[in-house]
């Protein structure tokens, strides 16, 4: 009983497959009769696809090159055909000039202060009045009283 049922199912599968493949063969035959304009559009589509595939295959080989080219172009647009180290040096040059200028100003200011102090010391030492007199409270009071203002 089971054997008969299995046998029938197998027969049905086989018949279905034969029927399906027969229909498939007939559809193949019909597909070959597609109108000329459809065939032409399919041909153009195929050629475009193949061209696109060719471009895709070539793309990985040149994938790293564009980055260098882009950077190179950027540099050349800024500084002509100068090498990279000069470009970087030129970029930090304003900062170097600024720092050097600040150091020079500070140095000049210190020198001015030293020269002013030296002048005072020289005047004190060259005067007839001894420097110890300025530490005497009575002399300071004398100076205040004789101050014209």
């Amino acid at each position: 009983m089971n054997s008969t049922a299995t046998h029938s199912a197998t027969d049905a599968d086989r018949l279905e497959a034969r029927f399906g493949l027969r229909i498939g063969a007939l559809l193949n035959e019909q597909a070959q009769r597609t109108p000329h304009d459809v065939s032409e559009r399919l041909r153009v589509a195929r050629e475009q696809a193949v061209a696109r595939a060719r471009a895709t295959r070539l793309a990985p080989a040149s994938a790293t090159a564009p980055a260098d080219v882009v950077i190179g172009r950027g540099r050349s647009a800024t500084l002509g055909r100068q090498p990279g180290w000069l470009f970087r040096f030129a970029s930090v040059m304003p900062l170097i000039v600024l720092v050097a200028g600040l150091i020079a100003i500070d140095e000049w200011h210190d020198r001015q202060q030293i020269e002013a102090a030296a002048d005072v010391d020289t005047a004190l030492l060259a005067d007839e009045l001894p420097p110890d007199a300025y530490s005497d409270a009575g002399f300071v009071e004398f100076l205040k009283q004789n101050d014209p203002q």
Binding site: D11, L15, I23, L27, T34, L42, A45
Partner: protein
């Protein structure tokens, strides 16, 4: 990696079937051509590095997805789902002798082809029409299995369903086709 020639040969071999299969689904030749063209280009752009043996399955998958995308864009998804749910047809008639019908229809096709070229052409057109009338999933499973000659597992991969579903869709499509062809008089 498929060469230009291998890709060309593959596309040349599959393009007309792809067009017809898509045209059955969308019922619009221009739309079918657009879908096939998009599928070809998608295959070329993303899968050109695959070995030639993988191209058929990948292409069928792309084509199926592109067709579904078209339906989504056309906002006829509801109509499609109606077709997809149309699995409870009249194929289970108790007085319907499948084996006999399949045998007679198959014999009829062979007899017609030998008898008359014009009659054969009419039969071919009729078959195309009946295939176009099949529910979407049944038609897709049937054409992938018996026209593209994919096996059950490959068809299931392309359709994104189980192998059991593929067998069910195919069986129902065969029954429906055989029955409708007999109803059209393609029987002895």
């Amino acid at each position: 990696m498929a060469t230009d020639k291998e890709l060309t040969d593959f596309l040349k071999n599959v393009e007309k079937r792809a067009f017809k299969r898509t045209a059955y689904a969308v019922r619009d030749d221009d739309a079918a051509l657009d879908i096939v063209q998009d599928s070809m280009i998608r295959l070329a752009e993303k899968y050109a590095d695959r070995p030639p043996a993988e191209l058929p399955l990948v292409f069928q998958r792309i084509l199926s997805n592109a067709t579904m995308d078209w339906f989504r864009r056309q906002k006829v998804r509801n109509a499609v789902m109606t077709n997809l749910s149309d699995f409870d047809g009249g194929n289970e008639d108790s007085d319907f002798d499948l084996l006999e019908l399949l045998a007679t229809v198959e014999g009829s096709l062979g007899a017609e082809s030998a008898a008359d070229t014009v009659g054969r052409e009419q039969i071919l057109l009729l078959i195309e029409k009946e295939i176009a009338l099949l529910p979407g999933r049944q038609r897709e499973a049937f054409l992938l299995r018996y026209w593209e000659e994919l096996d059950v597992a490959e068809t299931a991969t392309v359709m994104g369903c189980s192998e059991g579903s593929v067998k069910t869709h195919c069986s129902r499509a065969v029954h429906a086709l055989a029955k409708s062809l007999r109803a059209k008089g393609i029987t002895p």
